[in-house]
């Protein structure tokens, strides 16, 4: 299968601080849900920020459909077809749900298309329709996450990057998030998922990539990664060492 996104030897970090990504390489194949797991500080979120253009790449390169995208601005990368839903969900708290959805389609120049897709999302998510005129900041965490994920439908990107969509949500809501994620995938989007809860993340994914200390440790089909003894070592060994 051809690679959709290719990260090669990327080094990146915050400001003048130390590198968090230490020459990371990985590939993303189209049509899959690819889960990135790893202990705290492995560089999972940092990787997504680097791909999204929020963080400068110090060396290495990122290619999307063969074309280099490192060095582009976040708005340019979105236009190429990569949509990032960060942990903070990137909502506009003082805009209504509807305005947030419209903002998601900022890059669409076609007003009729924007309106049609906004309506389609509201059609699909009755809770959002119910709260269409409510400020996004007044909704529950689960509803906000739903809005942030549903909003990606408006631009129909090729890749959606989800950074810990389950963070801070109740278990039954988490299940709902994974359902929405699969819905996005069934619409033809490729999903790159970062999950702190490695087991839940891998169970809902096709491919698993394990990071540690800013590099790719190993990867493989999600069910295999799930039972790989190195995972136990990485998580349990680390925490056992910390406890000792």
């Amino acid at each position: 299968m051809p690679e959709l996104l290719e990260v090669s030897d990327v080094v990146a970090g915050y400001g003048r601080g130390p590198a968090i990504l230490n020459g990371i390489s990985l590939t993303v194949r189209p049509g899959q849900v690819q889960c990135i797991i790893g202990p705290n500080g492995a560089g999972k979120s940092t990787l997504m920020k680097a791909i999204a253009g929020l963080l400068p790449v110090r060396s290495g390169e990122i290619r999307f459909g063969g074309e280099r995208i490192d060095g582009l601005r976040p708005d340019q990368i979105l236009r190429k077809g990569i949509c990032f839903v960060p942990q903070e969900r990137a909502l506009f708290p003082k805009m209504t749900v509807r305005e947030n959805l419209r903002m998601g389609g900022y890059t669409l120049r076609d007003e009729a298309l924007l309106e049609r897709r906004t309506e389609a999302v509201l059609e699909q998510f009755p809770i959002l329709r119910e709260r269409a005129h409510q400020h996004a900041g007044t909704m529950s965490g689960g509803q906000q996450q739903m809005l942030a994920m549903a909003r990606t439908l408006i631009v129909e990107p090729q890749i959606v990057m989800l950074d810990e969509p389950s963070l801070g949500l109740a278990p039954q809501i988490v299940q709902q998030m994974f359902e929405i994620m699969h819905m996005l995938r069934n619409r033809g989007m490729t999903i790159l998922l970062v999950e702190q809860n490695a087991i839940a993340g891998l169970k809902h994914s096709d491919w698993g990539t394990v990071l540690d200390l800013g590099r790719t440790l190993f990867e493989g089909p999600a069910p295999e990664v799930l039972v790989d003894p190195r995972i136990q070592e990485l998580y349990l060994g680390r925490s056992a060492a910390a406890a000792a």
């Binding site: 979105l78 990137a90 506009f92």
Partner: protein, 292 residues
């Protein structure tokens, strides 16, 4: 009763002009976190544009508002590119802008003083000294026209922010800069144009100022504190808050001026600021301050 109505109407008209004066300041702070201490001198620059267009060519200052706005818009773009864009990555950006804009204020003050001297000037269109009587109510036409013009521009600004694509981009950048980027907004470009729009609003306000106040370059020092107090009272970068604060404070100041003497009326702004910072530091329309 008629006295109260009289003071109320005059307070509202002047409040409209203050609201217009502060709107650009709050817009710029909202989008870029620039504390623009040079805002009042930019208003006076706009006042000089209208003053000279009237004095040399007899063009009515209300009609020359678009010219003053355009001149200041261009000055805004140039200043942003020259001064602010290169500092945008700095961690101490907001603090630095205080110094930068203070330096700009002094430079423009000196420049305007050198060009036009610090004599008092006022644009004198025919309506400058007229008044309308509604029963016992006395309304100076200059104040009335300035107030109406201000409300029209502010209304236009609000419609622009609410319904246009660029307005969405400005609001989004104000509320969550990183999120706006992720939605495809080129926030640097939005910052550039918003700085231009902010100064254009200052320029337009200047045209009105030119015929309701007598002015001279150094007068901007008086306004800095008043305008800043309106921005803080409104909730730092909240346009609606700033407008409400401007109207409210101007009306209160008008009453204080009438019943306690005009020396006390300016004090109203600072007293209100002081009280607000004590009881509700986030301002009228501000969010609770969450960041440490």
């Amino acid at each position: 009763m008629i006295d109260i109505l009289q003071v109320l109407v005059l307070g509202l008209a002047l409040g409209g002009v203050y609201a217009l004066m502060a709107s650009g300041l709050t817009l710029i702070f909202g989008v870029m976190r620039i504390v623009n201490l040079a805002h009042p001198i930019m208003i006076l620059t706009g006042a000089f544009v209208s003053y000279w267009l009237f004095t040399l060519y007899g063009i009515d200052p209300i009609l020359s508002m678009p010219v003053a706005a355009l001149v200041l818009f261009v000055i805004g773009l140039v200043l942003y590119k020259l001064v602010f864009a290169r500092e945008a990555a700095s961690a101490k950006y907001s603090e630095m802008t205080v110094l930068l804009t203070f330096a700009l204020a002094m430079s423009f003050d000196g420049l305007l003083g050198a060009l036009f001297s610090n004599t008092q000037r006022v644009t004198t269109p025919s309506y400058g000294t007229q008044a309308i009587f509604l029963g016992d109510l006395f309304i100076p036409t200059a104040q009335l026209y300035a107030g109406i013009a201000s409300f029209v521009i502010i209304g236009g600004l609000m419609l622009f922010l609410r319904y246009t694509r660029f307005g969405y981009a400005i609001r989004a950048t104000t509320q969550n800069r990183a999120a706006a980027q992720l939605m495809g907004v080129n926030v640097e470009f939005v910052s550039l144009v918003t700085f231009g729009i902010g100064l254009a609003l200052a320029g337009a306000a200047g045209s009105l100022v030119s015929f309701i106040f007598s002015f001279f370059p150094a007068k901007h020092w008086e306004w800095i504190a008043i305008l800043m107090s309106l921005v803080v009272l409104g909730g730092m970068g909240k346009l609606m808050g700033t407008i409400v604060a401007a109207l409210l404070l101007s009306v209160i100041a008008a009453f204080v001026g009438t019943y306690a003497g005009s020396t006390w009326s300016t004090m109203t702004f600072f007293l209100a600021l002081f009280v607000m910072l004590l009881v509700r530091p986030q301002g009228l329309f501000g969010d609770r301050i969450e960041e440490a």
